[in-house]
Chain length 331, copies 4
């Protein structure tokens, strides 16, 4: 049994807390949020303790692992403190928006050989995971081209956009990780972006549509297609093209119902609305993987380094956007 505390009781923290409560080998001990009412609500619903402070949790010998779902700017300090307290850490993406801080974080804790996992949920999506397994089993031979489509149903509030670190570090970072997960290290990044949806996003210095092209050390080419708005739901697709075949993982829908009429045929439902619905299974599998690693004392994946490399690609994409150049990634 792995005993957890959850830091951060917003939408994601709550979902993780509920998944922990359901997992047979995990138990949720306590929760914390600087918004005390949010923490109290979760604690009440799940029948667990509301901690008065992070320090209380980190000092609790009855807590084996912390799940960090607080705002991004607090991740680094919480990871450092938790690692020093000997807790295993599952931290939501991104580690931080500032690479210098990410590097410092690891410098502070690396020698402790901590158990740290970064919450890139898509690796755990059953369809994406099955696709990757088949690729690794050689079903399509050498991977030559990857197309990742990721479009959110609607842009977040402008207030969030302004502190998000920009589209690449906030949203595309999932796709950067998925690309590395599929084809290994990336050596070149080229990015294009535009503000097509909300002029306010452009005025805030950000983009809301993007196309990124990358080259892997393996030679494979990767295309990422992003939009902050998508009329038909949360568009999450993956296409991997290899020498002897192609594997694609499409969207998922609430039901299998299709309509046929004079207006059209085989019309299916809109796709699942957003990440909480689409990646419900993935979030549960992510928790299961982390729990198993803590129990078996094996390294969870995605690792801290995976979190760092995804940020490196986001930074390179921003540099490409600024300079109009293809950016080489150097070890």
């Amino acid at each position: 049994m792995v005993r957890f505390a959850v830091l951060g009781c917003g939408r994601i923290g709550r979902m993780h807390a509920a998944n922990l409560a359901r997992h047979p080998d995990a138990s949720l001990v306590s929760v914390f949020d600087i918004a005390q009412a949010a923490a109290a609500e979760v604690a009440g619903q799940l029948g667990v303790r509301q901690a008065a402070s992070v320090e209380e949790i980190l000092g609790d010998a009855g807590v084996d692992a912390v799940l960090i779902a607080t705002s991004t700017d607090t991740h680094v300090e919480l990871i450092i403190a938790a690692a020093r307290a000997g807790k295993a850490v599952l931290c939501e993406k991104p580690i931080d928006l500032d690479m210098a801080r990410v590097i410092r974080c690891w410098n502070e804790i690396g020698s402790l050989d901590p158990t740290v996992m970064i919450g890139f949920n898509r690796r755990f999506d059953p369809s994406f995971a099955a696709l990757r397994r088949r690729v690794q089993e050689g079903e399509i031979g050498r991977v030559e081209q990857v197309v990742i489509t990721s479009r959110d149903p609607a842009p977040p509030p402008l207030a969030y956009i302004k502190v998000s670190g920009g589209m690449f570090r906030d949203m595309t970072i999932h796709d950067f990780d998925l690309a590395r997960h599929l084809v290994g290290e990336i050596v070149e990044v080229s990015a294009h972006g535009a503000s097509l949806i909300d002029p306010g996003i452009g005025e805030a210095g950000d983009i809301d549509a993007a196309m990124v092209t990358m080259r892997a050390a393996s030679g494979a080419l990767v295309h990422i297609n992003n939009s902050r708005r998508c009329s038909y739901g949360y568009d999450q697709r993956l296409e991997v093209f290899g020498e002897t075949g192609m594997l694609v993982a499409g969207n998922r829908r609430e039901t299998s119902v299709e309509a046929w009429s004079a207006k059209g045929t085989q019309a299916a439902d809109p796709v699942l609305h957003f990440f909480i619905q689409r990646y419900a299974d993935a979030y549960a599998a992510e928790i299961a993987h982390f729990v198993a690693c803590v129990q078996d004392r094996t390294r969870p994946s995605p690792s801290f380094n995976d979190g760092m490399q995804a940020l490196r690609l986001a930074d390179a994409a921003n540099e490409s956007l600024r300079t109009g150049r293809s950016i080489r990634i150097t070890g």
Copy 2:
């Protein structure tokens, strides 16, 4: 080169005439229709002779084969006359609405060993034909169940319904033939029908929706699903279920375009509108098969007997409808 005359210049006759004109090993010599204007129009368009009578055509040594596309009640006499004149015959379905006349027809010509083919176009549909080939190659093992869906876009005029011989002899006859083509001889027929679409059809003593169940000598069960009206086009599907798999042949559409929006996803075109569009390739392949048989002096298929057996199943379906009993077909 097989030299043809076309008898009957209605919609189907014209289509056949155009296909003959295009076929490299066929030539269209002459056409006839009791409606002289129709024959004149086709003759003019295709640059062929308009015959003054059937006799002129049957007496023409420059005609090898006749394609009969006249009204059903004339088929038997034309087949007899053409066979006696030594012409190969491709006759539109059905041979006749009256089994006694069909039997008499064969009694008159059987000893001549005539080349007679009945125009069941669906056998030549590229999808249905490919499906059957794969079944015969053993891809799904023994065939256990067949589901044939055949729904017309809209009912014909009531005037036609009244002389059509009823839904089973007019429309389902295609499905009876397709069933025999797939699973061999049928030994039992059970039919249900209803007038759901147009009360006038019911008042005329006919049905406009039907479900037929049949048992083959092989043991396979067959379901036929018919409707005289279908909002999304001409619904033509085939499902063959066997011990090691299932093969299905779906509808075809004008384009491959699919629409995704807030209202639905993967919405495709309506299916091809009616038989002229859906079975365009099939009609051309039917002509090609007949031409090849005449050239090679081999037996074309579907044969006169196939036309007779399909009518036998239609008659059995009518008897089942009347009696509420499952009808045994005896050799």
Copy 3:
């Protein structure tokens, strides 16, 4: 909070027990099975009491409802005893294999106005339920034809077949209920069956493939297609054809992955393997409906009468199979 006891700790009983344990408004109090080891295991896993007898459970004022998942031959006596003890009852299908016993059961308890629900899970499948909702909202106009496909992945052991009551009462009964759920009362049943899969099934006097045609009081025609074996998984499909359109609910798969290669394109996973996987959501929704009805003191559906009517259709199908006649259902 509705407090439950589960009678029967086989595969289905365990699944229901786990669903009850998860439901926020239900609590599982105790379990019973004549196989004490099975009951002990479930009681241990879920931390609930193992009752020594059915009587102990029915006498327990702390139990509001019983879920009956014992063998079919015990259902009637358990329903009667539970109803007399004032417990709400959720009983697995079928009520019994013998209509006389089913009628007697209701005669014994009807005057108690008991809360009894029969576990026809398919009504609660999200896709079938969404399809039905759209039909009822008028999306396709009047329903004219229904095609229900239900094929099990593999036949049950012969020992089970022999006590199953035959395919119609054991397997097709789900489809009979689904048909009534979609089109209302059925007035005519015609059935065909065959033993195509396992000769032992035929020798046991049963069939392993069936096609049933029914007519509803509304005029709609219904086709049911059953097989005891299906190479590609648990084939569960529904097609409802109406005057202005068609709604279909297809199979569900583990992932959305599709493979493209020289051998074929868009090849998807086999369909979900069997009812525990395919109807996982349906079983949870079924429990939720029953819990809500007990809490709100409303009538759950499917009712005892629904269970009785489905059996009536199964009996009519058997009679049709025996007589080769279409059987009228009289009120």
Copy 4:
């Protein structure tokens, strides 16, 4: 009636000749090829004159239009000569591999106001054309992102690769035109390529896999995905994403047959093998458009300028590949 001569009797020339022979408003008068045997064969099959020289054709007052399907290096001189001779010209893509020569070509003939159409067949594909029509009718609002997938079944011989002008001018040029056709003028091009399939292609200085990103003056982003080899056939897809929806045009297959088995479900045919099959309808529609324009004295499209602009994008893609920079296109 538009009277044609076909220059070049290779695979494409023959196909065009056959399409001209079938078109009701076109007549094929003569053909020419420097390989006299090829020309003789086509002339014989179609019953037309084999011209002894290009000059003979251009001097023939009975020829209204020439279809140029010779090798690329001869296009410019033939266009100039034909325009000077007052013939309408339908020239296969590309106009030439060298932009200077293309510009010179127009300088020589522009003042003659010639009728010149460039054979970008994809504009005439029924699915792509229907998709574009719906985009222009506003079905998906403003176009934001376009993804063009174009993968050939197998690379051409190395000997061809060496004179092809490189992948962008030889193969991607179709996609450049399609992009312009959909979103209008392009202002920025960024290209990545790799030699992943045949090392010989890399040694010849060319690439066999490419990803191109472009920005349109409208703001839309465009991704092109190319491969010189595709195991499952000729992969030709189009995805257009807009503010209120997405339209996609998928691949086409020989039949609608799908296979279901223990290995997988809904497995369809490989896609149509290559351009002659996939774009058969498109080539016929292209001819029909040109014939109609010549008859009506309207400007055919794609125009000479369209051919020039597509080449400009190919050149920009090559420059991007060489420099690692995003290339601005200036009027």
